[in-house]
């Protein structure tokens, strides 16, 4: 048997080169795979925590109500004549604050800090009265469903600002109530 391999020296050398390459790869592989890879599935488990660790922009309604409870209830429901059914009587009562006011997490966080006496910039809630905002939901366009109150610009309310007749938090006007 020895004779068969007497002239195989070069084959052994090339095999050694390949073997060294494979071993080097396996060692490098061990070093390069992140420690938390594969602990939950075929991915780096830390990526889940990274997906969680982002700042939020929208605070969520609960945090608005947390501070603005009085304002919130007074505006949406007239204390003198509370709506029998808030949804049908005042559809804006189901809107979340940030639907119109925009992202307010920064405002909420800074304000909480200021309340606690910490140093934080004043970030007031911007006043939004632009007609564009109203028309975003109430302009009459193709495909907007029939249940949604819609206006044609020019046909409705002349050139007045929306807010000159409709209070944003309780948009039904006296005329609406009568009609």
């Amino acid at each position: 048997m020895r004779g068969r391999f007497r002239h195989a020296g070069h084959v052994k050398r090339v095999a050694t080169v390949f073997l060294v390459g494979i071993v080097a790869f396996l060692i490098a592989r061990r070093e390069l795979i992140p420690a938390d890879f594969g602990t939950l599935g075929f991915y780096r488990a830390g990526a889940i925590d990274e997906a969680r660790a982002r700042p939020i922009a929208y605070a969520g309604n609960a945090s608005c109500v947390d501070c603005h409870r009085g304002k919130y209830e007074n505006e949406f429901a007239d204390p003198a004549a509370p709506p029998a059914d808030p949804v049908s009587d005042n559809r804006h009562s189901v809107l979340r604050c940030e639907s119109c006011h925009g992202p307010l997490a920064l405002h909420a966080i800074n304000q909480k800090k200021r309340d606690a006496g910490e140093d934080a910039p004043d970030t007031p809630v911007p006043l939004v009265t632009a007609d564009k905002l109203c028309l975003g939901c109430h302009l009459e366009i193709t495909a907007r469903p029939a249940f949604q109150p819609q206006v044609r610009v020019g046909d409705h309310g002349d050139t007045d600002k929306c807010a000159s007749c409709h209070r944003p938090h309780r948009p039904r006007t006296d005329e609406d109530d009568e009609g």
Partner: protein, 254 residues
Amino acid sequence: MDQNRRAFLKQSTRYVLLTGAATVAWEYIVAGAPEQAPNYRIADHWWGMTIDVDACIGSGNCVRACKEENNVPLEDGYFRTWVERYRVDPADPEHPLVDSPNGGYDGFPQIDNPGGRFKTFFVPKMCNHCADSPCTQVCPVGATFDSPDGVVLVDKERCVGCRYCVQACPYGCRFIDPRTHTADKCTLCYHRITQGLTTACAEVCPTGARKLVDFKDPKDPVHEFLRTHRIHVLKPELATGAKVYYNGLDGAVR
């Protein structure tokens, strides 16, 4: 947070949309370390979404809020969620006319509906967080994955930017972020939902057309919703296990 406010949050049923868990998480958000909020158990959740097509008024609120919340590039061509407008000729339902200018970010312009004969409606689109997602299947390096709570996420530290996942998504929900050169997509606002908040798109939707749902929560109204409505997913023939359930979805929607 003082005791009165906390008591109010717990008692209130009409205005407060969040659970007690979110109140705890809020303290961590204020402290600037939201990921350390301790009360999220990943095995207890299985996230998805329901979209009520009939309720969508095409305001584009969701598209704008999503870009704001998730720092999505503002240019056209990069959307984690968008809204499509359909005009379907009842005589030719296989060739609907669809438009989605800038994904609906700027709202929708008035458009022709000759004689009012077309059936028209809006359809919000987003990642379906498929249970058998084609995009995670094809990722060569495990940079995109289904999290144990059913959300398809991207690991931006490992994504090589080969774009195979973009090709594999049948819904066109993925894009390459031009700033990081890595794949990007809807995370179902993972940073929010794991702290008891809802997604940004659901938060700002004026009609509540979008609802975040947790299938593992027995008290989630989704179970009743799915039982009492005719629901549909997009492209069911591709068997992706899509978890965005549409109510009132028209057959013409692609």
